[in-house]
Assembly symmetry: C2
Homo-oligomer: 322 residues x 2
């Protein structure tokens, strides 16, 4: 998608232009570093596309788009502390390169920066924009807490898992798009439909992530295939496998969870998930949320032509190589 | 000040009424716990008084007042992690009672809650209120970073120290008052004067804190006298003592910093600070900022009668027992 590349470079340029003071350098150096680690920049692009869908220019949506990206990066800095992650995009995380206190505090500042960007928007849109941003920020934290709580729980249901990924990752896609719709003066119904499109694409995308982690082509995946299996992470595949497994299959799965030979562990888990039907279930779930998303997009009362870029983006997101 | 007690109980009641969801309980239980640990509630009262000064009711300023208190509590939760503090107001801190990840994340949510309260204000005041809140939040983080940086620096100047306490604690008092002024539709000049009153009272109050830590009457102080000396904390007293000390006095001070007999350490440091003139210097500095504050208050173009409560509060704050 050539068009997408233009949006990405527009956002990249504007992120580079975000200005932080020189001092205290322990507060601002980590932010200059982290914001320029790259990333797909999908969220800010959604805000631009949401605004354009309703006839507003991308320039007028820019500060809101950046606020979403800045917020996303704030959550990554704090999540990396909580997950004790040494690397992010193959570079050191903030708490590793500096220290944990600096990661907490520079994250906090970045969060405020998000509000500083958002408040640049037209005053008549401020209340709905900030309310949406607040609600989403709280939901993202709730999702992260659920994810942490799941680590020590053995009774996580499929519904709880879907709710967790909805909160932790998908509501922000809905928020990014709806912000654009607010800036474009869309009516309430269209705003809500666009939000639902984003949220459900987000859920589908996360489910796809779970599937790709195990079934991706190693040549094209870019990170280790089977990472979730190695760390016994609760994913939709894993939860569904345990749900559908026979007593014997459950025993094999439990034995595999302590298997030291990682190649064997991955290969056998992969095969068993297929036999049990967990992979097929996940693919069906993914398609379900994808089609809910596309239905929401179709229902937005605006000429179909205007929706082409968003449709293209949704297709692009869902066509990562298996 | 009986009047003050009425404001405190009004704020206490409204803080108790802040509603958090039940779930995830690991996210919201810490907030219910921490917000009800008490405290002087001076900051929200300043917002109420700021609004009343310009003829607005305290009820109309309430959500902004609560947003300041909620923000203050958010900073305490995160600061307690960074300072590895086990106790706050004689109760366990959040990261001690739960764990560090929960303290990071529930702090983040509380920060958003501050914005949720603020956005309830009249839409026509939103932009100035949020801009002021953002600017202050960033300054408070900068102050905390400076404070942490000072721990490993031996060349902290008096000016840097004053700038650190201005950012870390005083700007929030200015912000609290100015928010009230914005809500009361004060003009720019009056807003700025009220902010300066709060900021300078804040600096005077912090300097008084440094003095009280060593020179307070143990019977009336409520916490251990000499705590800063025991931990060799950089305070205005300490920095100024090293600045004014002769070569011999410097050697004694350095020797005292490793003294194991704590009573001896405190007593001798206390006496030496007086001999050197550090205590007198701090008292003069405190009075300087106090009088800058009172001058700002006097210059606010509004009848003197309306200023009585604020004057009383300033006197109350500055008359803690030595």
């Amino acid at each position: 998608m050539q068009e997408l590349a233009r949006y990405i470079s527009y956002i990249e340029k504007e992120i580079e232009a975000i200005d932080f003071p020189k001092s205290p350098s322990n507060l601002y150096d980590p932010l200059r570093y982290f914001l320029n680690l790259g990333g797909k920049r999908m969220r800010p692009i959604l805000t631009l596309l949401g605004a354009e869908l309703f006839g507003e220019t991308k320039e007028n949506a820019l500060s809101a788009a950046l606020s979403v990206e800045v917020f996303h990066n704030f959550t990554l800095i704090h999540d990396d502390i909580m997950d004790e992650a040494p690397l992010r995009r193959n570079k050191e995380t903030v708490h590793t390169k500096w220290n944990q206190n600096i990661a907490i505090l520079s994250g906090d500042v970045l969060f405020v920066k998000g509000y500083q960007l958002l408040v640049k928007q037209n005053p008549e849109h401020l209340q709905p924009l900030i309310e949406l941003f607040n609600k989403t920020a709280i939901e993202v934290c709730e999702g992260q807490q659920m994810d942490m709580d799941f680590e020590s729980r053995q009774d996580v249901t499929i519904d709880e898992y879907i709710e967790m990924i909805r909160l932790k990752t998908s509501v922000l896609l809905g928020c990014a798009l709806e912000m654009g719709a607010v800036i474009g003066n869309a009516n309430d119904s269209n705003r809500k439909l666009l939000y639902n499109f984003g949220q459900n694409i987000g859920i589908a995308f996360q489910i796809q992530d779970d599937i790709l982690d195990l079934y991706a082509d190693p040549e094209k995946f870019g990170k280790q295939v089977g990472g979730d299996v190695i760390s016994n992470k609760k994913t939709l595949l894993n939860l569904q496998a345990f749900q559908l497994a026979s007593k014997d299959q459950k025993q094999i799965l439990e034995k595999l969870s302590t298997e030291k030979n990682l190649k064997l562990k991955i290969d056998q888990t992969k095969e068993l998930y297929e036999v049990i039907g967990a992979r097929a279930f996940c693919e069906k779930e993914m398609e379900k949320y994808h089609s809910i998303a596309m239905k929401s997009l179709a229902e937005i009362q605006i000429e179909d032509n205007a929706k082409q870029t968003l449709k293209g983006l949704a297709e692009f997101l869902m066509k990562r190589e298996l």
